[in-house]
Amino acid sequence: MLETASALKRTPFHPRHIASGGKMVPFAGHEMPIQYEGIVAEHRTVRTGVGVFDVSHMGEIRLTGPGAAAAANHLVTGEVDAIPDGKVVYTPMCLESGGIVDDLLVYALGQDRLLVVNAANFDKDLAYVRANVPAGVTVVDENASTAQLAIQGPKAEEVVAKLYGDRARALAFYEGYETGSGEDWTLVSRTGYTGEDGFEIYVRASKALALWDRVFEAGAPHGIKPIGLGARDTLRLEMGYCLYGNDIDETTNPLEAGLGWTVRLDKKEFLGHDAIRRVKEAGVTRRLQGLLLEENRIARPGADVAWNGAAAGRVTSGSMGITLGKPVAMAYLAPEASKPGTRVEVVTRGQASPAVVASRPMHREGSVKSPKPRRSE
């Protein structure tokens, strides 16, 4: 998967990444900062203070028209129709087979539903959405016109409240609101994927650099720093949050991925409903669980997991648990080997590393204010 520099898109924040010393790498068709001062320091900044991620590579698809809410509800496994204005829902979008097309956020914005999808999946998702909404619902591609910053960490509220006031401060986790129109449009939500309290601010691309500068000015007293993709990955991994393409894809279903809490089988129907209901009835054949490694050898994706001397699964994500102080991983495990506390071995480069199965999230001390994603089965 060679990506040439000329084919890479740049986000509107690109000049600020360069000025901040960001080490730029190809990621999902974009030129993105993998790190600035270093992954370990950036990870700690978000766990203890406040950091800023450019997440403009994420894709925005807006459904408008009177049937938009119902159309969105057909697309995803979660409930996104009969929900209050301003509510945000994390949910998979599935194939009829139950395989996951993408995991996304759905914002209820008046009659509209705004879908925020993974960068690597944007074209696929847009085509899938267009193919599966009824006439009368308009699908608007807002990707190129939207810039987005995630402001994450226990001190995020202080920074965001300075810019957006009490309305932002009063948001509950997974709530948001829109203001303004045209080039002044802004969407503020209390969302994130780090395990810390945090906000995501969406503006029009023309306002991106001004937003970056205001955020860093407001955050200066709190030691705000830019954070790269590297720490984004280690932060989400400690929380056991799924990364599309690693932990979930079109061959995995939400129940085995531990995303049963996002699936509303009580909804009349949605894409993949029948297949997922059958999985629920039959029971899953593997479970995505956390692993805590006991030695400092990192479990990389693809590493085999053994239990009682036999193959029992495969690692899908792994890195250093920087806050946990030990390597941490996620792996699909045979049900009999998946109980938290089970001792297994990760086979890395021909060597067996002892590990203990852990429920997700593996890091439990975060400042995140929501009920944490949890197993439903």
Partner: protein, 128 residues
């Protein structure tokens, strides 16, 4: 990019400093920068034999893992135990506190085939 003049180098980004019949080995400033935060270095036990340009260990950074290649053949006489508790020394002091192994050379003539600082800088230039 820090490329000390007195060291010799491999194309795989190890450095070597000769001290009598022994050689101290680590990875270069360029290598640590490319790897990012190092979190674990797996090294052979003292007494083990290593062969020129064969792997003698691995280096785990947050995002990637990389093999370590022995610049010369010989017997490992010491390893840097400080890296167990403080692998970040590889990032902070790649040519000093971040050293990895000390090798008693079995064939000092192997040194002739290694890169000089100039050669290594050219090699890095070709990379960029």
């Amino acid at each position: 990019m820090n490329v000390p003049r007195e060291l010799r180098y491999t194309k795989e980004h190890e450095w070597i400093r000769v001290e009598g019949g022994e050689a101290v080995v680590g990875v270069t400033d360029y290598a640590q920068g490319e790897l990012g935060d190092v979190i674990f270095v797996e090294l052979p036990a003292p007494g083990k034999s290593v062969a020129q340009m064969k792997t003698f260990g691995t280096i785990d950074a947050v995002k990637t893992v990389s093999d370590l290649f022995a610049p010369v053949s010989g017997e490992v006489t010491a390893v840097n135990d400080s890296l167990k508790d403080n692998p970040a020394l590889v990032n902070k002091e790649p040519y000093a506190g971040g050293w990895m192994v000390r090798i008693r050379m079995s064939d000092p003539k192997e040194l002739d085939g290694l890169l000089t600082a100039d050669d290594y800088e050219k090699h890095l230039g070709a990379h960029a």
